[in-house]
Symmetry: C2
Subunit: 305 residues, 2 copies
Amino acid sequence: MKYGIIGTGAIGGYYGARLAHAGHEVHFLLHSDYDYVCQHGLRVHSWMGDFHLSHPHVYKDTHEMPQCDVVLVCLKTNNNSLLTDLLPPLLHSNTLVVLIQNGIGVEADVQQMFPSVSLVAGLAFICSSKTEPGVVNHQHYGSINLGNYSCSDAKLVEQLLAELRGANVEANLVDYETARWRKAVWNMPFNGMTVALQCQTKDLMEQPDSRRLIYEQMLEACRASQALGVKGVDEAFAQKMMKMTDEMVPYSPSMRLDWDYHRPMEIHYLYTRPLQLAREAGCPMPRLEMLEATLRFMEGRYIEH
Amino acid sequence: MKYGIIGTGAIGGYYGARLAHAGHEVHFLLHSDYDYVCQHGLRVHSWMGDFHLSHPHVYKDTHEMPQCDVVLVCLKTNNNSLLTDLLPPLLHSNTLVVLIQNGIGVEADVQQMFPSVSLVAGLAFICSSKTEPGVVNHQHYGSINLGNYSCSDAKLVEQLLAELRGANVEANLVDYETARWRKAVWNMPFNGMTVALQCQTKDLMEQPDSRRLIYEQMLEACRASQALGVKGVDEAFAQKMMKMTDEMVPYSPSMRLDWDYHRPMEIHYLYTRPLQLAREAGCPMPRLEMLEATLRFMEGRYIEH
């Protein structure tokens, strides 16, 4: 299949480069790195082995890109309003759009923008970062879970899974709602708390009060998902996430990096939307609401100063 | 009556100086300011008018102080274990001990140390600070509410009220439990939040998310007090506190000053004790629990670094 990558950063750059490295035709949309990548190509430093694409297909404008069979949307969700302009040139009647983005409610909003497009959620389990132009640092993990949101062609999703696996990416099909909420169970506590307390995951796990708080926040997300009728997000899963985080290297989640690099934080889809759904389901998440308020306050101060 | 002041800071220095200025015999325990005050006296810069005590009775050691009829304890609660040594020399059989201290549970613990002593809670509504040796800056308000905890001699409390009023201090008798919890309704949100978000009261009131959060935290304290059977701490009172804070100058509560000056914060009596009582009464305060965890985490980092 022919691939389009909207947002060639730590995530889009990684998965796109894997697919290209495996021989697929991949078209990358770049922004600030465009000139550098034209000249030097795209490099991946990975714990699974480094590789380099010397002449990737790169673009500054999606109107110059071809129609693709699969588009990976790897923008920060704060920029999703741009999709009304960015996406149409890449779509044919059967294009599969994979939103590899953070949070809850992203698919619902993109579907409203493009009512007939086939959407799949992509949940990346990866520690990667882009610290210099044209270079992706892939530090840990790397798998991706796909949750079918609105694609009626199951074979198309199966083919994507197969091509990802063939490109050395562990890929699995999962239940959409379960997958989004499972990810939220980890994302909601750690993204915000590492910003609020200016620390990394390991610091929060080691101090007993913050450790208890993180676990209580996980349970809030579990209970909310249950109230929303989502299956498979229970206390046992929260315990598994605690154990996994204990075993992780000290880590700065994406929101902490956004804060550090003075980029807007993804508060809307990581907090506002799931908090609203939880309230509507009669199961508010008070600690995570407090975290949202804290982040909004910090964001306001940062923008003012 | 003869007065003893344990802790001659922004609070003890202020009320003690008022009483001495009105002609009462007042004995001050000092620590770091002792030499300065011996030489230069004690100065009060007050919005109600400045005054100066040229030769106050000052001490470095309570064993050199006389027995007193009233002792105002104005230590930080973190130092209350020192009272087992500090207090006995000042006590006669009928001494009234007034704890002008922050938080919930202070009287219960001091009563355990001194089972037969008469205790009164002193709730100071005052903006004052001690920014240089021997000088109290009294910026705003100045009243004190007394709540009788264990004094069987009501006349003694009345006499104290009268002498305070005669010394230009607005003083009222209030219900002990109501007064402590009413104070907590303001103290619990603002002390911790100004530390957690490194801001002043006005910043929290102006930003809509933090404003809502502060109010929700106030309501948590109201509901907990009701579950504990305390009267007069309801939503109307929380609204009154919001209005009062709107009308206040931008203010740094005592915990924020403690943080800024690298002094230990009064987390135990301001958070841990009331949170525990609320949990025991089946009415936990999740946002304030999260705030406690945040402060414990910050305290730990500060001490480590």
